[in-house]
């Protein structure tokens, strides 16, 4: 999932998190596909950010998935002989790949 500006939202993107009002009430539940009128409504209500499924917007300077995976491996480089930590590393990598829609 990815947190994006409502201004970047496009029709067809799917909400990965509930959109809440300022009073903490659910305005639109997760799983809802965005429509032009929904996006317009969010903007009118000053909801500046939404969280959507996948990773539809790539920002400048953002690392690619292989770069990120390489970084994770580097962070775990000194504990490659510790089975629970190797499991943790693989799981973090898998989750990241999934969150990028792969």
């Amino acid at each position: 999932m990815q947190q994006i500006l409502t201004l970047q939202a496009k029709e067809g993107m799917v909400l990965a998190k509930d959109v809440m009002t300022a009073e903490n009430r659910v305005l639109c539940g997760k799983g809802t596909p965005l429509t032009a009128s929904l996006i317009e409504r969010f903007l009118k209500m000053d909801i500046v950010q939404v969280t959507v499924e996948g990773h539809p917007i790539s920002s400048p300077g953002e690392k690619t998935l292989p770069e990120e995976l390489h970084d994770i491996e580097a962070r775990f480089s000194e504990v490659q002989k510790v089975p629970p930590l190797v499991y943790l590393m693989k799981r973090i990598m898998k989750n990241l790949a999934e969150s990028r829609g792969q």
Partner: protein, 290 residues
């Protein structure tokens, strides 16, 4: 390392001339809590006198960081709903937040993330008052701030070793100072009169065996530090996942399925606390301007 030199560093870190002190309100409240005649109203009143602290406390209580299910709008309801110990940890968190956020944003992010993992694990393991464990997670690296502020030229040497020789921060501290940030953090916590439940996890987060009574809490901080470094959230001086303590792993006894669930909950929560700050002043200014 010469003993005299080591002693000199010890003294500098023990005196902590440059570090802000915890607000006097913390020790005042601790005294009040020990007195069985103290009422919730009296305590709420003392906290309420410091309105900035009270506002920060409520912001913290209602943030995704602690994630209490219902919205809490007053200090006295916070005390009734959460209990005094929790509120006291929250006050300590709110005060230390400021020190850390000002000094080193990346380290603060790491600490905040670590506290989130602590909360998930402590809740999962059914630890009483998981918020205390979160607070310990939040302050576990406070010794790094103490070294940075009290011994700036040695700190410079430490960061150079980390950069040039790819050492871990802790190994570099041992080489330059003959002591590490966990030990320094323990002294600081002691100077602030923090309870053992917070002090031991700070001083023993790299080796929970050293803790006399708080081995489990120390083990939770130890593993949370590993998880948050693995996720690459924030920056704690070096980017290496530290070695897993055997004792910590015995105490936690997680199966792969536990790790999967912990990661899932942590990632969800981290998403919510991203960018979370207690900087109330900035918000006030921007809302007056806007």
């Amino acid at each position: 390392m010469e003993d005299a030199k080591r002693q000199e560093f010890r003294n500098a870190l023990r005196q902590t001339k440059n570090l802000p002190t915890l607000p006097g309100i913390v020790s005042k409240l601790t005294k009040m809590a020990d007195d069985p005649d103290t009422t919730t109203e009296q305590m709420g009143k003392v906290i309420g006198q410091d309105y900035i602290l009270a506002a920060k406390l409520l912001k913290l209580v209602n943030s995704a960081f602690y994630g209490f299910p219902q919205r809490i709008s007053s200090i006295s309801s916070a005390i009734i709903l959460l209990g005094f110990n929790v509120v006291k940890s929250l006050i300590i968190s709110a005060s230390i937040f400021e020190v850390m956020e000002d000094q080193d944003v990346e380290l603060w992010q790491h600490s905040l993330g670590c506290a989130v993992v602590c909360n998930v694990i402590a809740t999962r393991m059914g630890v009483k008052d998981p918020e205390e464990v979160s607070t310990a997670g939040l302050i576990h690296d406070i010794g790094k701030i103490a070294i940075k502020m009290e011994l700036p030229s040695e700190y410079e040497m430490i960061t150079r070793l980390v950069r040039e020789r790819k050492m871990s921060m802790r190994a570099a501290e041992m080489e330059v100072l003959g002591l590490d940030h966990a030990e320094a953090g323990g002294w600081l916590a002691k100077g602030w009169n923090l309870p053992k439940k917070l002090l031991e996890p700070v001083s023993c987060h790299h080796d929970p065996r050293l803790a006399s009574t708080e081995q489990l809490n120390s083990a939770i901080i130890h593993f949370s530090d590993i998880v948050i470094r693995g996720l690459g959230y924030g920056h704690a001086g070096d980017n290496k996942v530290p070695m897993l303590s055997k004792r910590a792993w015995e105490l936690l006894n997680f199966r792969p399925a536990d790790i999967d669930e912990i990661l899932e909950q942590v990632e969800e929560k981290l998403w919510d606390v991203k960018g979370f700050s207690l900087e109330i002043k900035a918000e006030e200014t921007s809302s007056t301007v806007g």
